[in-house]
Structures are given as C-alpha cells and as structure tokens.
Amino acid sequence: MKKLLIAATLLVSTSALADAPGSQSCGWGNMLFAGQSGTPSHVLAATTNNSTGNNTFGMTFGTNGCSTKGTLTYGGKEMIDVSMIMDEFSEDVARGDGEALTAVAVSLGVSAADRALFKSTLHNNFNTLFPSEDATTEHVVSSMFTLMKNNEILAKYTV
C-alpha cells in the first residue's frame, strides 16, 4: 500500500537531472554513491507511462542539463555520461565485467579486441578509480583517462 500511495518521483528524479550546470546532480559534480531521492509512484507510472527524459529524437547520452546538447565530453572526447550509470559502472569495475563497463568502452570507441584489456585495466585499478565513497564522477573519469593514457594499447582511445 505504501508503495502505491507514495507519489511522483520518476518525475522528481527526472527534473532533478535537469538541474542547471554546476549543480550537484549535473554531470561531473555527481558523487559516486549519491543515489536517487524519493520514491516512484507506481500509480502514476502505470496510468501515464510518463515519457521521462527529453522529448526530442536526437538521442543524446545523459541529457542531464549540463550542456544544451546533453552530450558529455572529456578533453574533447565524446562519451556516455558516466554519472548516470555510476552505480552500475562501479559495480562492473569491481566485478571486472558487465554491461555498463562495456557501454563505456563502446562509447569511447574501444574495439572489441581491446575490450578485455580495457576491462581488466579498470578492474585491477579499482582503488585508483574509486578511492572512497566520496569520489566524484570527475575523479573517476579523469583517473580512467590517466590509466588509459599510460597503457600503450588503450592510449589511442583517449583522443
């Protein structure tokens, strides 16, 4: 009953994602384990199947309000907005494999042949990427780029 009665969070969480650049929920400032607040309303989801996210068709990764195009770039390199999948990504790095980790590799253009190396490199450096629970997405992404740059084979995917 409780679950049914509580209202509207898909909405709330979506609009939170649309915060202005620089705010806590936008892009790189996101804390590693910040999580979502609120609870979704199942009634609402069920009667409207509310179209969360952008209503345009030019699908952009992580339309989180950080830029008008919604695409995140790091050092000029376009990639998936890791902050949006930080839970999944950190878990995949810990395990050494998974869909979120693959998605990051693909969005960086890492070829199928180099993916195992990419994954093991990140997995073996879990503590560098995620030094504490307060690690920001910016730290995670910049450490990831450093690790890649220091690797002969992966370096080419950072530019």
Partner: protein, 618 residues
C-alpha cells in the same frame, strides 16, 4: 513517367514498374490504402464522416482538414513536395510512399538532402527493432498491465551493449510539478497529451529494472531493412507531434502497433484493439503475427537479489544480512572461517541488498560507506560469480486475459447454473504460467445465475478486485493489500438482497515454504443494503488464508469475518477453492463455501455453496 526518362533513369524505371503493378486507379484510392491511413494514424475501420486521425496536432497536417480528410491531405502533400522540396525532410515516410506509388512524381520533386534526418539515421544505424515489455511490478497491480516500448539496435549489438541503443517510448507528457492522484486520474481520462520520446536504453533499464524492480522482456522483431526504413522514416515525422493519451486504449502499446502497421502494411495490428489495448495483449498480437524472432529476459535487480539470496544457506543468509548492517563482520572469525567462495557470495549479497534498499532514500553517509567497502571487497574477489536465474514463463505465453466461465452448483439446497464474464485479467487461482504468484487484478467481472425453477439473478458484478500478496522475510517487509468494489447478492434477514459494497484491507503475507503463501488482512467494508436498519453499514473485519501453487494447479483456503458496527450482526465465511489448468486456454475449478450470518434481526443462518466451474480464457 515517360519512356525516355525511364531509359535514362533505370532506377525510376524499376520504380515505375513496381508502381504500375500496384498503382491504384486514382488519388482517392491511394488515399484509402492502409499504408496512407497508417501514415496519418487513421483507424482503417472507420469510414466517411467518422474518419479522424488520432494525431491531435495541426502541425502534422498540410491540408486544413487533413485530420479528417485523407484525400485532401494526400493532395496537399503532393503539392508541397512539388513546390517545397524540403517537405521531404519533414515527411520522409510520406515521401517514400508517394514516390513509390505515383507515376512520374519522382521527376517533379527536386531532390533535397535532409542532413538532419540522415545524421539521425546514421547515428541510430538501426539493423534490428526490439519490442520491450516491462512486466508487472510486485505489489503494484496497477502496473500489472505492463508497459511496452521499442528499442532500436545497431549492428553487432550483442557484442556491444544494448545500454547504448535507442529506446522510443510513447507516454503522456506531464508538466513538471503535477503529482498525486489527480495526475493518475488525468492519465486515465486523456488529460495529458501523448508524445514519443527517445532515451538511451540504459535510462529505461534504470527506470524499470532498478527503480521500479520490473523484469524486462525483450522481443527481437524480424523486420526487414525496408520495413525498418519505413518505420524510422515515419517516427521522424512524429517528432514533437502530440496525440491524445488514454490509459486504457490510446496508450503506449496501441501507438507501437500503429508503427508496426506502418512498417509492414497489411498487418492491421491496431485493429485488434477497438476498446482497450493492454500491453500484454499487444505483445501477444505481435507474437501471433509472427513478428518475434528472438526473446531475451532481463531480470530486475530485485529478481537478481532474490535469486542470489536463494543460493545461500540459512546461516549464510543471516550473515549477509548482518554484514549489510555491520561492516566489521568482515574481520570476525565467523566470516573469516568460511571458504573464499562463501565469503564472496555473502559479500555480494550484502552489497546487492544495500544497493536495492538504498535506491530511494538518498543514502545516508554510513550506508554509503558500507556499500563502498563491500564493493571494494568485491573487487578483490578472485573468481567470477554467476547467479543462475531460471527464465520464467514468457508473459505472452500465459493465459489470455478475458474469460468466460460456466459453473454448476448448489446453494441453499437449490441447484444453479452460473455464467461468468471477466473483462480482465488474472485472479489468484488462474493458471500461473506467465504471471506472478500472489497478484490478482480483475476488472469488470459479471456473474449471472439461473436457479432451478427458472429464477435468474445477477449474482455479482465486480468493477474492481485487487489482491496483492508480497512475501515478508528477514530482508523485505512489504505490506500486502486488497480492494474490491462490487454489486452482489448478500444474505440479509431471510433472503438474498442485491447490495453495493466497497471493501479493502491491509496486511501481511509470508512464504512459509516455496510456493506456499499465508496471509492475514485487517479489513473494512462499507455496504449499502436496503434491508439493513441503517442504509449504509460499516464493518471492520479480518481475513486470513493459505495459498499453494503447484505447476498446473492452485489451492486456496481462506476464512473471513465481519462485525457490523450499527446492528451488531456478524458474517463469517470459510472457503476452499482448487483450480486445475487444463490447457493454456482452459481451467477447471471446484469450490466449497460455508457462510454464517447472525444478528439481532434475524435468526442464525448457516448455509453452504458448492460449485464446479469451467473457465475459458480468450
């Protein structure tokens, strides 16, 4: 197209041959083809003045009366294509269709490079289309009807990641700030405009698999490249276009069927749903049209967590729960003395549980710390841990949701025949394959009885009947609940009276052993009964029961008691029901009900009812 031009342009020649083969005699015939009507979102079953597009947006039409006049819209589109060649960019699907079907038109339309559209198509790089069904959410029968949307996959998606695929969803667009039950009511009645929206698939996974804990079923369709081309071209036309949105019929699933009708003309999928389009039933229609090539099950994080907890022994279970609350356990003997494999499983379970538990609460500092330390520990694990999750019966292969029943029985020593019709959907004893245990949602359930001697009575007309049993254990503590609104026969004073009632309850449910649920509710009933002293009677009550599922058969034993507040009368019921699945379409049910009514106004009454029922699902 003249002969010379055909020689010069072999491509156009081919087109012309193809066009000639199916060339309708005139424009009005072309405007009546299912392709054109599908492109305009006109129900092909309507005619004459009833014709009206589902699109509720003037910018979608080029003719003033385009929404109601497909011929004028076709003429206006032809003229726009001839005079403003950029029309091709706004209506690529219409352009494809008209160039293919109108002789000579290709020469009159100047080629135009639609860069934005081409970029979009290149970015999607779609080679396959997947219909995704978000199944019911436990404890939320309002979601039982499910939800559907499309996913567009590029080549080699299996080696890459469907995370990055393009998901297309049709839903109501709700202004920020709207909330509460008004919002739900408006969703039901068409108060919000519906639009298509695109997201990366990972956002959908997050929304359904993680935030709502709903299992996703991914049905890969066997659409061919030219069919995908037509579909995407049409989707482009719908960018920013508003439809009316109604929960029951003009919903997410209905719109997707229309897109399939555009992709493969002649399917007439949308025509299957004149009244309501339940997402689950639309999946079935797609399956029956032989559109499904492959199925993939994506369990929710709750399903994964439960599967993993089921791998643990009782001791390990207790340890994982304790670890999720106290990280220091990692250094205690009781943990260290375990094998590495056991340790790994326990750490993993504790991590998953914390993550599940803290999806919504903003994550307190201490919890965050524990999650992080568990994750770090997980990263040190030497071996890979796999959870085996058995794929349940596909929801589209479960029994269908409408039902006709006929039963023979005896009530108060009188024999009767009962006929039953149920609009939707599934009750606790219907065949379980493809459905979840402990969830029941029925809407529009009518029973008519003919007694020996010829007396015919409306036995019951249920508007709504919901039961949601969610098992509690050490890890999870959900509430169970039920609600019912009906007009029904009720033994009052000394005869049956047709009463109107609303009742509901909240309680708990436990799964004592696999497939066995026990439950208890505290209930309340409001009854309008003209034979009672007070017109509206209020009764608190209790309801307890046991439910057991075998693969093809279900047993329920329950007892219910109501104490009426004003006249101090009481009602009790004890009932046994057993159902057996005969096939995917039929089931048989036997039941015995023992009733007892006592009160000041009438003598004590006890009576029984026995029934054998045959149910057909369609």
């Amino acid at each position: 197209m003249n002969f010379k031009a055909s020689l010069l342009l072999p491509l156009f020649f081919l087109l012309a041959v193809k066009a000639n083969a199916q060339q309708p005699n005139n424009i009005s015939q072309l405007a009546q083809t299912e392709q054109w009507q599908a492109l305009l979102h006109i129900n092909t079953q309507t005619e004459g003045s009833d014709i009206e597009s589902y699109v509720d947006d003037a910018s979608f039409f080029l003719a003033n009366d385009g929404a109601t006049n497909p011929i004028n819209e076709l003429l206006a589109t032809i003229s726009a294509l001839k005079n403003q060649s950029e029309t091709q960019c706004k209506f690529p699907a219409r352009t494809l269709f008209l160039l293919e079907n109108i002789q000579g038109l290709a020469q009159e339309v100047k080629p135009f490079v639609c860069q934005e559209y081409l970029d979009w198509r290149k970015k999607l790089n779609t080679t396959s289309v997947v219909l995704v069904f978000a199944s019911a959410q436990l404890n939320s029968p309002s979601s039982m009807y499910g939800h559907t949307f499309f996913r567009f996959d590029p080549e080699n998606v299996e080696q890459n990641s469907t995370y990055l695929s393009y998901a297309l969803n049709f839903g109501a667009t709700v202004p920020a700030g709207d909330g509460g039950f008004l919002y739900a009511a408006r969703g039901l009645t068409g108060g919000y405009p519906g639009k298509f929206a695109a997201n990366p698939y990972f956002e959908k996974i997050k929304e359904y698999n993680r935030l709502e804990n709903r299992d996703l079923w991914e049905y890969k369709l066997n659409l061919k490249p030219d069919e995908i081309d037509a579909m995407l071209a049409h989707i482009w036309e719908l960018q920013g276009i508003s439809f009316e949105y109604y929960f029951f019929d003009e919903n997410c699933s209905f719109r997707l069927l229309e897109l399939l009708d555009v992709a493969r003309p002649g399917l007439y999928l949308a025509n299957n749903f004149p009244v309501t389009a339940m997402p689950l039933d639309t999946v079935r229609v797609v399956q029956e049209a032989d559109l499904i090539a492959d199925t993939h099950y994506r369990p929710s994080i709750l399903t994964e967590l439960k599967a993993q907890l089921a791998m643990l022994s009782d001791d390990e279970n207790a340890l994982a729960l304790a670890l999720s609350k106290d990280i220091e356990l990692l250094n205690k003997d009781e943990f260290i003395s375990l094998t590495i494999k056991q340790q790994q499983l326990i750490v993993d379970s504790a991590y998953r549980y914390l993550r599940y538990q803290n999806t919504f609460n903003g994550r307190a500092k201490a919890t965050t710390r524990r999650s992080f330390l568990l994750l770090r520990r997980l990263s040190e694990n030497p071996s890979k841990l796999t959870i085996t999750i058995e794929q349940p019966v596909r929801p589209d292969l479960g029994h269908k949701t409408s039902m006709l029943g006929v039963s023979f029985g005896q009530n108060l020593d009188q024999g009767f025949v009962e006929f039953k019709y149920r609009g939707s959907y599934h009750d606790l004893l219907d065949p379980i394959g493809g459905y979840y245990q402990g969830m029941s949602l029925n809407m529009v359930n009518v029973m008519i009885r003919a007694y020996q001697g010829g007396k015919v009575k409306l036995e019951k007309a249920e508007l709504l009947d919901i039961v949601s049993l969610s098992a509690r254990n050490n890890y999870f503590s959900p509430w169970s609940w039920k609600a019912n609104i009906s007009v029904e026969q009720q033994w009052t004073v000394d005869k049956e009276v047709l009463v109107t009632q609303g009742s509901g309850g909240g309680g708990v449910s436990y799964q004592v052993i696999d497939n066995t649920h026990v439950f208890g509710f505290v209930t309340g009933r409001l009854e309008f009964n003209r034979k009672l002293n007070s017109f509206a009677a209020v009764a608190p009550g209790v309801h307890v029961g046991l439910l057991h599922y075998w693969p093809k058969s279900t047993l329920m034993i329950e007892a219910e008691h109501y104490q009426f507040l004003f006249d101090q009368s009481q009602r009790s019921r004890f009932s046994l029901q057993h159902s057996m699945q005969l096939s995917n379409k039929d089931s048989l049910r036997i039941s015995a009900d023992f009733h007892r009514v006592e009160g000041k106004d009438h003598a004590r009454n006890s009576f029984q009812e026995f029934k054998v029922e045959y149910r057909h699902y369609f």
